[in-house]
């Protein structure tokens, strides 16, 4: 087992044992491998850097490097696709540890030789790793076990080298809950945080963004490729998407909205005119309506058949007739399940409905939701049509102080 810090600056000797250069950096190819292989070295000779391919190296250890020939090919080093330099791009940089769900800094890199290959097996994140580099060589006396993070658990490498993002990283990150991905992305610099979100698939990216502060959402989507941003917006819930668009410059928001698929675009566009701090601004357009003429059994069957069920189905909103929005009652899912399947909905539904007008201040509506212990509150216009619903988690966001909210998981969705 070898540490990067033990190799850097060590002499490179040719076949004869003649010292020809020193090790400046170790090149590794990131790819599908959990433990990426060393593909060569950057050697330094007379203040110039040149490239040493792996096949020229017969030995790599604490004492330095041995080459397999006497001839030194002074090819200047050029970075190739998906290659990273361990000293330049990895050492001292931050990375996401998927296993520990944390952001750590790399104090040293562990290299192991196995089956004729040198591979990066782990990142040393312990104090001993730091001490190894600080203390003069040979001084390290501590026998304490070092804390090495398995390279297979590296979800994201926060480096500035543009081409080196780990190909498999998004899969590893996607194993985490979006709340955690959001927290980790926020712990990095905003450039790297955006990169993390961009590396995710559309759905996970949307869920992760929804867990981030509004300003971050707008910044990340605003800086992204427009097509991609529109794709992610489609996956977000309409009310969240409308909030983000409202935070973006008008022109940008129009463009992104224009790029969205027709159905999602319409859902979001409907919410946009409402001011942020009103019931209309708080509501979402995803809810279930059922005509009052149906029986309980028919209603349950219809729920089962629905291809895309909204998150909020604990309340079912009963309307005058098919394709109408005129709200006449509400049924809790619980009552629906417990009721006799042959009964018509109108006999089961409650008609004393708490509702809000779209222009009502968001805070008051949120307080009402808390007071009446509701899971959601319908928003109804002056003609009695249901426009949307306000769910309890959105209401909580208004009522709870900001730092509390981040500790609470989302109740719905």
């Amino acid at each position: 087992m070898l540490y990067l810090s033990q190799v850097l600056g060590r002499p490179i000797r040719d076949l004869e044992g003649e010292r020809v250069a020193t090790v400046k950096d170790v090149i590794v190819r990131l790819g599908a491998d959990d433990h990426p292989p060393v593909t060569g070295l950057v050697a330094r000779y007379r203040r110039r850097d040149f490239f040493l391919p792996r096949w020229r190296i017969t030995q790599l250890n604490k004492h330095g490097v041995r080459l397999n020939s006497d001839i030194l090919d002074l090819r200047p080093f050029v970075r190739r696709e998906s290659e990273v330099l361990l000293a330049r791009d990895v050492l001292d940089k931050q990375l996401i540890d998927v296993d520990g769900k944390r952001v750590v800094r790399v104090n040293d890199v562990q290299i192991i030789e196995a089956a004729g290959e040198y591979r990066v097996t782990g990142a040393d994140v312990s104090l001993q790793g730091l001490w190894r580099r600080l203390a003069p060589p040979g001084f390290v006396g501590t026998k304490k076990p070092v804390e090495v993070l398995d390279w297979a658990d590296v979800g994201y490498l926060a480096t500035d080298a543009a081409t080196v993002q780990l190909k498999s990283s998004s899969d590893k990150l996607a194993r985490l809950h979006p709340v955690e991905i959001a927290r980790l992305a926020e712990a990095l610099s905003y450039h790297h945080g955006s990169e993390v979100v961009e590396s995710l698939d559309d759905e996970t990216a949307a869920e992760t963004l929804e867990e981030m502060p509004a300003e971050s959402q707008a910044r990340i989507l605003g800086d992204m490729d427009q097509e991609r941003a529109a794709d992610i917006l489609e996956w977000m819930s309409p009310d969240e998407a409308a909030d983000v668009l409202g935070d973006l410059p008008e022109e940008k928001a129009e463009e992104l909205l224009g790029l969205m698929e027709h159905e999602e675009q319409a859902d979001v566009a409907e919410l946009l005119p409402y001011e942020d701090d009103t019931a209309g601004g708080l509501m979402t357009t995803e809810f279930v309506t059922l005509p009052r003429q149906l029986t309980v059994g028919e209603a349950l069957a219809r729920l089962r058949e629905m291809a895309e069920t909204p998150n909020m189905i604990y309340y079912l909103y009963v309307v005058e007739e098919e394709h109408s929005w005129k709200l006449c009652g509400v049924i809790a899912l619980r009552s629906l399940i417990l009721a006799d399947p042959s009964m018509p909905l109108e006999d089961v539904m409650r008609t004393d409905i708490q509702s809000a007008e779209p222009q009502e201040p968001a805070r008051e509506v949120a307080q009402r939701i808390a007071e009446y212990n509701l899971l959601a509150l319908p928003v109804v216009d002056e003609s009695g049509d249901i426009l949307g619903i306000i769910t309890v988690d959105d209401a909580m966001e208004i009522l709870l102080p900001k730092d509390w909210r981040q500790r609470l998981p989302r109740l719905l969705g």
Binding site: V104, R105, L127, Y190, H191, G246, L257, E263, A266, E270
Partner: protein, 424 residues
């Protein structure tokens, strides 16, 4: 049964922004004025008492230096999205990081000592023994921060420290010789004496402290400022700088007009409080004590905390007040160490409190060059800053600051080790 699409495209509602309001109390404003803590008040009050109006001129170059240095850090925060400690670690490697963090730790330990000394001095103004007040304050600060409830009491301390704004009124009421003020402001005087250089280093050290650079950069990052919306922060930094220096200006005037005129040297906090008499009469001491207590308590919590954050950040260790000792030993260890050392030194018997306040500011000044050179190297790195590197005028001002501060520090050390060796 999703809500059907009505398909009507409506205009995007714009949501109001509070940017203009936030700029008034942004990171730049808060940081620059954090310099006016116990050590700062002590330093500026002695400048006025000892040298009258004759040192007022240095406020102009100091204002420029402070603004330039703070702006560089704020800009780095906005462009890179990373804290100063992060950048130092990522760009300079472990050894330089260790050196810079060590100087930051020592400088901040010094300032923390000064805050507890400030608490001791304030307590004695109210007739409370410092052997009671300092340990109590240390436990209170530690407990409040560790329990995460510091944010709640922070405002109360901040409010108390506003007492020092009273110096502005006091400066006018004490009827200073405005013509002498004008001359002092434009006519540079320099004396190659130990006491003079000591004061100069202390003034620089307390105004442009290493912790302020670290602090302003991380607040900019935390506020989510990016290179696109950086301009408001730039304004905030400069407005904050000018405001902070204006307060210093009035502290010096009011102490010069009262204490210097009467030939009083500041030995205790009660002497410094006398400069508030034109405003508060016989309540001057209580008023000063209240302000000193508030300002000191505020910084006694924030400073060890900020230091613990920087050090864990640079070394890559777990951080955060919600962690246990087992989870984040370096973070909580640093924080506890600083509070303990600060309190322990402040209760040494027969400690000349006011002198200690000045000495800690000198330590700040002596360690400033390390941090300044690191900042200059980072802010001029094109790979990091892109087009936002320093312009030539900025670089000139910044380099001059770094070189002059270094020269003064070296000069001061030479004069201290070999008294009488440096003569005109």
């Amino acid at each position: 049964m999703r809500r059907g699409a009505h398909g009507v495209r409506r205009t995007v509602a714009r949501r109001g922004r509070l940017l203009a309001l936030l700029a008034i109390l942004g990171p730049g404003m808060i940081t620059a004025n954090a310099g006016n803590d116990a050590g700062g008040i002590a330093t500026f009050a002695s400048v006025g008492a000892e040298f009258g109006y004759s040192l007022l001129w240095i406020l102009i170059p100091i204002a420029i230096s402070l603004g330039v240095v703070q702006e560089m850090c704020a800009r780095m925060g906005a462009v890179t999205g990373k804290g100063l400690a992060d950048l130092i670690r990522e760009r300079f490697g472990v050894r330089w990081t260790a050196l810079i963090m060590l100087s930051l730790l020592i400088a901040n330990a010094g300032v923390t000592v000064s805050e507890f000394v400030g608490i001791a001095a304030a307590a004695e103004l109210f007739g409370v023994s410092r052997f009671v007040a300092v340990p109590l304050a240390a436990i209170l600060v530690w407990w409040l921060v560790a329990k995460g409830s510091y944010k709640k009491v922070e405002k109360a301390f901040l409010l108390m420290s506003l007492v020092f704004l009273g110096y502005i009124i006091s400066a006018f009421l004490s009827r200073p010789a405005w013509s002498a003020v004008g001359i002092g402001l434009v006519k540079p005087t320099l004396r190659l004496e130990h006491a003079f250089i000591f004061t100069l280093v202390a003034v620089i050290g307390t105004t442009i402290s290493p912790y302020m650079q670290v602090y302003v950069q991380s607040s900019v990052v935390e506020k989510g400022v990016t290179s696109d919306n950086y301009n408001a922060t730039k304004t905030d930094v400069w407005v904050g700088t000018i405001f902070a220096i204006l307060i210093v200006f009035f502290i010096i005037i009011s102490t010069a007009a009262t204490l210097h005129k009467a030939g009083v040297q500041i030995v205790t906090a009660a002497d410094a409080a006398r400069a508030l008499r034109p405003l508060a009469g016989r309540y001057a001491e209580s008023l000063f004590g209240l302000g000193l207590f508030g300002a000191s308590m505020l910084a006694a919590g924030v400073l060890p905390l900020a230091t613990a954050y920087s050090i864990s950040e640079a070394l890559g260790f777990e951080k955060g007040v919600s962690r246990t000792f087992r989870e984040a030993p370096i973070f909580l260890g640093t924080f506890t160490f600083l509070v303990a050392v600060g309190a322990a030194i402040a209760v040494i018997p027969n400690l000349p409190l006011f002198r200690v306040l000045l000495v800690t500011q000198v330590i700040n000044g002596l360690l400033l060059p390390f941090v300044l050179f690191a900042i200059l190297k980072l802010v001029n790195n094109r790979e990091l800053m892109g087009t936002q590197v320093n312009g030539p005028v900025y670089n000139l001002a910044a380099w001059l600051t770094a070189i002059i501060v270094t020269a003064l520090s070296v000069l001061y050390i030479l004069m201290t080790i070999f008294p009488g060796s440096v003569r005109l």
